[in-house]
Symmetry: C2
Subunit: 128 residues, 2 copies
Amino acid sequence: MTNTISKVASELGINIETVRFYERRGLIDQPIKPEVGYRHYPDDTVNRIRFIKRSQELGFALDEIANLLSLNDKPCSQVQELAEQKLSAVKEKMADLQRLEKALNGLLVQCDNNEDDNRCPIIESLQP
Amino acid sequence: MTNTISKVASELGINIETVRFYERRGLIDQPIKPEVGYRHYPDDTVNRIRFIKRSQELGFALDEIANLLSLNDKPCSQVQELAEQKLSAVKEKMADLQRLEKALNGLLVQCDNNEDDNRCPIIESLQP
DNA sequence: GTAATCGCCGTACCTATGTACGGAATCAAG
DNA sequence: CTTGATTCCGTACATAGGTACGGCGATTAC
């Protein structure tokens, strides 16, 4: 029962092509292909893909994940720094979205107070 | 003093190519080109681009902006609906980011409590 | 009138993260 | 041994929103 690419992919809930893509990106090793035939994925590789997927869930981009992977046995402080950068990026994005939320809310309130359906405060606010 | 493309672009603080791109996307009309020579952009077009840029600041995608532009003299209720959809998308994204923030914070706290710089709770949590 | 600048047009390229495709090779089942 | 399913590989395509380029024509400055 060898770990073929489709087995790995379905076990991880990802597309076969995604595995191949990670190989091309250098995130995982291309398993040594036997003289002839299909490739077998060692468990390490499967776990590495799990790591990638979990890191993505934390909002890391593939480039950053490559970095994380290379930090595997580097000091914790380096990993920590990466995570802190990510955290502040997340906070910034949230602030952006909050501004947006306020703006949209403000416009929608104006629509609610508008009795004439033939003019729209939103459109008007967007116009010069 | 005609409104050439570079004048329009610099006035709006955008790239010339962006103007051309909007033309290709059908967001603004290709100005009628004189028999021979350069195109002149009417003020309406300039204002339309302003509208586009402001809408982008509110988080609308170009497709949605095309929609907004076509809603120009449609009932306010339709515009309102679009804005409401956008608002709930924004809220969802914020919730996602909040979850992320919590997760990252949690991991960073663990790093802070970690005395051994040679192992990293973040890496460990990402590993199977 | 000629040089330097500007605009036009089609097309290619960019980032990020995959997906899809097609033909050849390989493997598994019967 | 044949048939059907898998895999391999390179390459193209997808999304979103642009940006860049190159050759040629138009225009403007002097």
